[in-house]
């Protein structure tokens, strides 16, 4: 029964929409002439369509439209500028990465001024080493002399553990 109703309802809708073929339309009309219920259904459908055609579509008032459009904005969270929002955090974190990447992409060769500065710094370090070597050389020499001269007192607190270096320091 249900299948029967659905079938004729589809046929009626197609008929009203003008999409029913001529053969099916003739078949539907022939059926309606024998079936009063079907005929009544077709008439009701025609009447309903006519009523629907008479309904005028009116534009909503501007105030209502405006209010409806405002609803999504009102419910959206207010945008707050903050460096600690995830997107800004990522952007901030990217800055040093870019700096490092640029510095890594720079040619490894230092400039002439940088090399000259390094040479000067190295010379300072060497100067201190040389002076320290001179001091120790002087002390070693005097220690050996004092020890030879006064081995009993043993007041010397210099410790020399490398005979090899001692001889080199004496040369200095």
């Amino acid at each position: 029964m249900k299948e029967y109703d659905d079938k004729w309802e589809d046929q009626i809708n197609a008929l009203l929409d003008g999409e029913l073929s001529a053969d099916d339309a003739d078949l539907l009309k022939a059926k309606a002439s024998d079936d009063r219920a079907l005929a009544r259904a077709i008439v009701k459908a025609y009447q309903l369509q006519r009523v629907m055609d008479q309904v005028n579509v009116e534009r909503a008032p501007h105030s209502l439209t405006k209010r409806l459009k405002a609803i999504p904005r009102e419910h959206r969270s207010a945008p707050v500028f903050s460096l600690f929002q995830p997107r800004w955090a990522m952007a901030l974190a990217a800055i040093p990465l870019v700096v490092i990447a640029v510095s890594l992409m720079r040619p490894d060769t230092p400039s002439a001024s940088e090399i000259a500065q390094a040479r000067h710094e190295m010379a300072i370090a060497f100067a201190y080493l040389d002076k320290a070597a001179a001091i120790t050389g002087r002390e070693i020499e005097s220690t050996v002399g004092n020890t030879m001269a006064n081995a009993v007192t043993g007041s010397v607190n210099k410790v020399i553990q490398s005979e090899n270096l001692t001889s080199k320091e004496k040369e200095v």
Binding site: D108, Y128, A132, I160, V172
Partner: protein, 180 residues
Amino acid sequence: MKRLLMSKFVIGLFCTLLALPAIAQEDELKNLAGYVDFGDLSATYGEPKITINLGGTMLNFVGMMSSSESPETSDLISKLKGIRVQIFSLGEDADAAKHQFGKTKSNLQSSGWEPIVQVNEDDEQVLVYMKAVDGNMEGMTVMVVDDEEAVFVNVIGQLNPTELAKVMDRFDVNVDLDLD
């Protein structure tokens, strides 16, 4: 709470990334056998008046630049992997600085450094330490403290003092260490 955590994360990440190059350079030298951890010298001596930190790459360039004018200098530099110098001016608390000097000396010995020369005068102390691995010199450390300043020099690599004395004439540098 979430924003607080995010702020800490951002600040921490920012500082870490900015410090990476310096950390990397220091770590490069730290891994070498001849590296000396002088500890927190600033806590005792204050801010250094001179800090020198030369890595192997820069020394190579200096050596190459010196090769034409002085092969001896170039040869000496080629054996070095790093040079670190920290020089502190001593004020009225020179005695405390000298006391701290002893602690640094103990740290060196516990780290496998061998004392080569020690000069202990009332007004001056000089320590020369060397580190050798399998008979090869890996580094030398020289510490000098007098009434005016404390000098810490860490040479990483091989350095022959005799060769150093030969090439010093080529460097027009003089330092104020009291030799009298």
